[in-house]
């Protein structure tokens, strides 16, 4: 399979070898081209003819030029069967399921924000009672960065942007009375190492409740791009080791927790950090390709692995681009799985996705206007056929969402689902000359960026060299310039800004030192009551697994069973792999 050819070369050859039937009659197109030219030269104003293509300038936009009018001429080679098909059928452009939202609406999955394990448990239950159909757990910064609540680095940050988790006991509190075998849980673990550490705590919690692992539905993030590129911190391990940890987690979860999505290839945070929607998808897919190659080396069938891969996307302001992106990436992933990896199982060719509306697109100025922005983002996600959705709170630029903002976001989802009626018809924008042309263009551009990465040696190499970091830095700088000079119009900020603008009173979460104290007391209690010899042995076994190639998640499960804490496991990883400094560019 790995013939030294890039993904783009493989797809080009395979697709060229398939015979197809163009949707539009060539004779009709020939006549149309003539008529179009006449129309352009006689009816269209000269200034519009000269400026036929306009390049949209939006936050995190892809700057794909748009024509004034789209026709079948822009879709000359469109082949219904090869390019679109019916919903639930290859190439899945029109959706993963035949009936899409008539069968089951997307999962309404709101992030449950910050607070103590007890508070978060109440908030999860509140959202479920009001109609959320899945849980979504944000971790506090110390937990994301794998520090215990009582370490010096965690000072002043316990429970600020998510829930603190130090050990299995915290998991037991967070998911108390929630039927974890029925309600799917998304645990936003970010990094591979973090996933190795936190997810076993969830598994041991289930074990202690007597629920077997094969019944658990849900997902973790487990994406090395988050650790090695998007996030910054003082203690990271080298990207190649992190990539291996990512694949160890995948191997373990696929084997022992079969209903669990073992990776959420996270385009979202990369884009929100600073890339276009094209790079967002190219990097996530390049990671998917690297994973399948690695799992192939470990002896696993891509059909078996592929079934549980999921993606995470960020829809921003350019409405049609966002719809087209979701359609394009579904088709591209299908083609990669089928033609590059030879998959036969349709489920393994699905690119299931969770979508969170864009946070960077939301503004501090007149924050209630963000409700409108997020609703359009969410609408694009639904028209694009997303499987799961979080809508941002209007207070995004101020704080983690207040309960009011969180509920309003859930209501936005419910209005789209129950009132707008857009869910009645599957893939309703298909066949639009514009949307199909844009879908094709976006697929080409994503594949082009994957090609660029593969020609430089693959994703791990371009991360290790800092190439991707530098690309994002340049994007961020340029975008900021365009926001400041007004090239990118932002309502209420640089476009029709209120000269008497006042910042509104917005609830923001203040730091509560009592929580850190409670977490520290709990840690002291756990460390004194557990069998410390057993805990030490499991930590040493984890270091061994890291160094000698054993599965690191299997070793972390033993640590969790012995009540080893998050920080203790982090230090074991660092001891085994050493530290890597994230390259940053200005």
């Amino acid at each position: 399979m790995d013939s030294g050819k890039t993904t783009k070369q493989i797809l080009k050859e395979k697709l060229a070898s398939e015979k197809g039937t163009p949707l539009y009659n060539p004779e009709a197109l020939t006549k149309m081209k003539k008529d179009f030219e006449v129309w352009q030269n006689t009816v269209v104003l000269e200034k519009d003819r000269k400026n036929w293509f306009v390049t949209p300038q939006t936050i995190m936009g892809s700057e794909i030029p748009r024509g004034l009018l789209y026709t079948p001429i822009d879709n000359e080679h469109l082949d219904y069967e090869k390019d679109l098909g019916f919903s639930g059928q290859e190439p899945f452009t029109r959706g993963l399921h035949a009936n899409m939202y008539r069968g089951r609406t997307w999962t309404l999955r709101q992030l449950s924000a910050a607070g103590s394990p007890e508070e978060v448990n109440s908030r999860l239950k509140m959202l479920l009672e009001r109609g959320a159909t899945g849980t979504n757990l944000a971790l506090d910064l110390a937990t994301v960065q794998m520090f215990d609540s009582d370490e010096r680095e965690a000072l002043g940050q316990v429970g600020t942007v998510g829930v603190p988790i130090d050990c299995v006991e915290d998991m037991e509190v967070i998911y108390k009375d929630i039927p974890i075998d029925k309600i799917s849980a998304s645990i936003v673990t970010h990094y591979p190492r973090n996933t190795s550490i936190i997810f076993p705590m969830y598994l041991v919690m289930a074990e202690r409740r007597g629920i077997s692992w094969d019944k658990l539905p849900g997902s973790v993030q487990n994406d090395f791009i988050m650790e090695s590129v998007v996030r910054s911190a003082s203690e990271y391990i080298p990207p190649r080791d992190d990539f291996r940890v990512q694949c160890d987690n995948i191997e373990f979860i696929r084997k022992y927790v079969p209903r669990w999505n073992f990776i959420t290839l996270n385009g979202y945070n990369l884009r929100e950090w600073g890339t276009s929607g094209i790079t967002e998808m190219a990097v996530a897919i390049a990671n998917g390709i690297e994973i399948l190659k690695d799992m192939g080396k470990r002896g696993y069938d891509p059909d078996w692995v592929g079934e549980r891969l999921a993606f995470f996307w960020s829809p921003a302001n350019d409405f049609f681009e966002e719809v087209a992106r979701l359609r394009a990436v579904r088709r591209l992933w299908y083609r990669i799985m089928k033609y590059r990896f030879g998959c036969k199982n349709p489920r393994s060719m699905w690119s299931k996705c969770h979508v969170q509306t864009s946070g960077v697109s939301l503004m501090r100025e007149e924050p209630m206007a963000n409700v409108a922005r997020s609703a359009y983002h969410a609408m694009a996600a639904a028209l694009g056929g997303a499987q799961s959705l979080h809508v941002d709170g209007y207070d995004e630029a101020y704080s983690v969402p207040s309960d009011v903002a969180n509920l309003l976001a859930l209501r936005t989802q419910q209005i789209i689902e129950a009132e707008t009626q857009i869910t009645q018809v599957v893939d309703p924008l298909a066949g639009s000359f514009y949307v199909e042309a844009l879908t094709n263009k976006i697929e080409d551009l994503i594949l082009g960026e994957i090609d660029e990465i593969e020609k430089m040696g693959g994703l791990v190499d371009v991360v290790d060299s800092g190439w991707l970091h530098n690309k994002a830095s340049r994007y961020i700088q340029r975008e900021q310039q365009m926001m400041e000079d007004g090239t990118i119009k932002i309502v209420a900020r640089n476009y029709f800004r209120d000269p008497n603008l006042e910042m509104p009173e917005i609830w923001v979460k203040e730091y509560d030192p009592a929580l850190a104290k409670a977490m520290a007391d709990k840690l002291a209690r756990i460390r004194s009551k557990r069998n410390n010899e057993k805990a030490d042995n499991t930590i040493n076994a984890l270091i061994d697994a890291c160094k000698k190639g054993g599965n690191v998640m299997a070793a972390c499960v033993e640590c969790a069973r012995a009540d080893v804490t998050v920080g203790e496991m982090r230090r074991a990883f660092v001891k085994a792999f050493g530290l890597w400094k994230t390259p940053i560019f200005a």
Binding site: V144, V360, S399, V508, Y511
Partner: protein, 134 residues
């Protein structure tokens, strides 16, 4: 002050801060405004101060989104006091934090606090504060 007469700025984040879009943005703004920028990344307050001493910077800028700004900033000022650079250094903090922390952060010792600002506002603040400390 750098030997070429440029204002020298050290930009850093506290150890756990994961968001770097802001610090990258500001680094570019200040560089474009003719300042010399050192982008340190994540570090404990004492390490930030140590680098500031070695590099003889005029300004220390902290980028924060996820909390810890009050507790860790107190550590930063203590370390600066101890190493004798508190008086001559301009301290800035920017990012996302509760607006009602602004007076508290000023009391801790920051010369500028930014929840949202343009390049012009940040550059003007730095120039005025550096001139005032001379």
């Amino acid at each position: 002050m750098a030997s070429n007469g440029k204002i020298k700025v050290l930009l850093a984040q506290f150890p756990l801060e994961t968001h770097s879009r802001g610090i990258i943005t500001v680094a570019g703004m200040l560089r474009d405004a003719g300042m010399e920028v050192i982008l340190m990344g994540n570090a404990l307050p004492a390490q930030v101060v140590e680098t500031a001493v070695q590099e003889y910077v005029d300004v220390i800028g902290i980028s924060t989104y996820c909390g810890g700004e009050l507790a860790l900033s107190k550590d930063l000022m203590k370390a600066a006091q101890k190493r004798g650079i508190k008086k001559r250094t301009v301290f800035l903090i920017g990012g996302i934090f509760p607006p009602l922390y602004i007076p508290k952060l000023k009391k801790i010792g920051f010369d500028g606090t930014f929840l949202s600002a343009t390049k012009e506002e940040i550059v003007a603040c730095i120039k005025a504060a550096v001139a005032a400390k001379k």
